[in-house]
């Protein structure tokens, strides 16, 4: 038991203090959750912060950069904007730039995208038979940019063991460390 010195604090706690430790852990998780959901509400996007996963927008964005998105209904799609979209049936969000826009009077829009670092437009990426993207495919428009901030996410995606190890370590630390 000598090796588990960090458990000494826990051994000395009474019921209330143990419940408080659990609550502490819960509050940290809740705070992160509430900040994320709060951002969702404020930006209108289901994924207000995305990490750039591919190199198709170099030299503007590299793998590991962070983008802040908004997705307000009234914001129109215009060429030159950087949009994050999902192809129907696939989960991976793609970050590319709008190349063409054709908007009807009723507000319905068809648009085409292309990655800066790609030679051709994205028609090859869209679903079978799909030639244009529509508003419903859009996760958000990139409004803010922060370099390198998403590197930890890339590391955790590429090395899942690292992710589990870190989460386990953090969880145990919060649960056993008395304030």
């Amino acid at each position: 038991m000598a090796a588990f010195g960090f458990l000494d604090d826990v051994m000395r706690m009474n019921k209330r203090q143990l419940y408080y430790q659990l609550l502490n852990f819960g509050m940290i998780v809740s705070s992160a959750l509430m900040i994320w959901k709060g951002l969702m509400v404020v930006t209108g996007s289901e994924s207000p912060i995305v990490v750039v996963l591919s190199g198709s927008m170099e030299p503007a964005f590299y793998r590991g950069d962070l983008l802040l998105l908004t997705n307000h209904k009234e914001e129109p799609i215009r060429v030159g904007e950087i949009v994050v979209f999902k192809i129907e049936g696939r989960d991976i969000p793609i970050v590319h730039r709008v190349l063409k826009v054709h908007e009807k009077e009723d507000g319905s829009v068809k648009f085409l995208t292309k990655g800066d670092n790609n030679a051709v437009d994205d028609r090859g990426l869209y679903a079978r038979g799909q030639l244009w993207l529509e508003k419903k495919d859009v996760v958000g428009r990139a409004k803010g940019f922060l370099p390198y901030a998403g590197i930890v996410t890339i590391l955790m995606n590429d090395y899942p063991k690292f992710k589990y190890a870190m989460l386990a370590f953090l969880g145990i630390f919060v649960l056993t460390h008395r304030e």
Binding site: P59, A60, F61, R78, V79, G80, E81, I82, R97, L99, K100, V101, H102, E103, K104, E105, K110, D116, D121, R123, L131, A142, K143, G144, F145, L146, P147
Partner: protein, 179 residues
Amino acid sequence: MNSFTSRLNSLFAFTLSVMAALTFGCFLSTVLNDHLRPVQLSVGKVSVKNVPDYSADRERSDLGFITFDLFTDLSPLYNWNVKMLFLYLTAEYKTKDHELNQVVLWDKIVKRGENTILDFRKTNTKYYFWDYGNGLKGNENVTLTLRWNVIPNAGTLPNVRGVGSEVIRFPDQYTAGRF
């Protein structure tokens, strides 16, 4: 500060805080810039054809051809918080099918440090000028503008329209044969 790990921890936390503060400062220092510059645009040969669009739905659509001249000096736009400018030449027009159409004809990336004076004469477009429909023939009001997307080192990603535009008037007749 009694152990190596606690010192490392403090150092790491402090470094992160300082970097975050500097990044925020970098963003704040340029957030009020308007990024406007005058642009001189003119158009040379203008013609339109009506051919099946093999890149899209194979319907017969209007295909426009132009050559353009472009001159602008973008040097004042570059500061410590500008990584690069993504320039895109946009044709904007209205047709009977669509209230608003925007097509990017040509784009260029100019990174900080590269030549920022643009002087293009009688240049061909990079992308085909396909309409989604047949709205280019006889269209007297196709506006050509140069716009740019400012990619910062950290901060917002504004799309700015250069001051100055040119109107393209497409002829009433389709041009047969080659160009």
